[in-house]
Symmetry: none
Amino acid sequence: MSAATPPPVIVLVRPQLGENIGKAARAMLNFGLTEMRLVAPRDGWPNPAAGPAASGADVVLANARLFDSVADAVADCPHVYATTVRKRGVTKPVVTPEVAARTIRGEAGRSALLFGPERSGLETDDVALARTIVTVPINPEFGSLNLAQAVILVAYEWSKGAGLASPPTVDLDPPGSQDELEGMIGQLDAMLETSGYYYPPDRVPTARRTLRTLLTKPGWSSQELRTMRGVLSALGGKKQPKG
Amino acid sequence: MSAATPPPVIVLVRPQLGENIGKAARAMLNFGLTEMRLVAPRDGWPNPAAGPAASGADVVLANARLFDSVADAVADCPHVYATTVRKRGVTKPVVTPEVAARTIRGEAGRSALLFGPERSGLETDDVALARTIVTVPINPEFGSLNLAQAVILVAYEWSKGAGLASPPTVDLDPPGSQDELEGMIGQLDAMLETSGYYYPPDRVPTARRTLRTLLTKPGWSSQELRTMRGVLSALGGKKQPKG
């Protein structure tokens, strides 16, 4: 692990049961992960059922941060991974926990791992925020991983290399933060709104998702995102210093 | 995996709660292990609490075999591994689940993996039956793996080489042709020419190069390039079918 690579953040998206939040915290701390973020937990936060299930991993729960949206929760993370059980019709790279862990350890910048609600998993819109999908290879005839189990497998894989030295990281600029990416997407979206691009109305959600996927794919750096914003401003007729 | 190597047997030694037997069965089946053996479970066998906790892994419970002693349970297994959380003063090789799994897959003959009771773990006499100890490397300041979690990590490692699922290779579309990319870049370039983006003149070559690098990086597919052209047309005020 590069000294500069912080451990990944575990983001539980709309978790249902406090007990499972506690179990996830326990799973994390077993393998040295301490940073949990919660997006709109169903029963609010704090949740009295979490503590007992954490079996002593209280420090993780005490430091857990609460967010309204996935985008807010990963705003400072240039690398976002969405864990899903099943393949979906998404055109993003799909990797094992092992490969994800190795990649995360080598990245410049912090990674976030998204885990969906117990019953349903991540929504397509949550997955759209991620550049990469993590899928645990599982018995095709019996796939029944619960939330804490999915968390523990990923944390376990991450921990394997956490103590090891690996070659110093990359001279590529890391992707900009999720915040910066959102800023650029938002600017384009506003321009397209007024341009008549989003028509007919029933195709708008799909069109938005397609664009998001396409613009998330490059992993543009902060500098590149600024350049894109300059391009958009020029196209929109606004004078703006270019990146 | 050698075709001759059967999957390992999971032996739960004096398990206390039926619920944990069920969870262990679920953990096993997720990764393709089906053979469970029980040594003197505290509350007898069958145990009505096991079924609900197995979440559908009933076949594992239905086929579980009951034994009075560890020696009986592993009598047909030439390779016995004892899982322990902490290192003990035993003079046996200690390996990670990863190494154990690799070894098991390469062995001639069946392997058994022993897991101790929830609270206390395996006794020294149980460990004495094993040739090798398996220990999960864990946070030295917080080691709190439960029985099903220990089982799932070992089963997961075993499954890696078992030819089970790996994530489906993605049907990511390949990048569009250079021609298509040039078409999109050309369209943007023409729009930027008239927008005043390319100013001052001495910076034009650098600005063009920067943009080209940025737009080449994504490796957009033909479809994505068409979408981008639709976006540009909309921004330029031209009506055009979007991609």
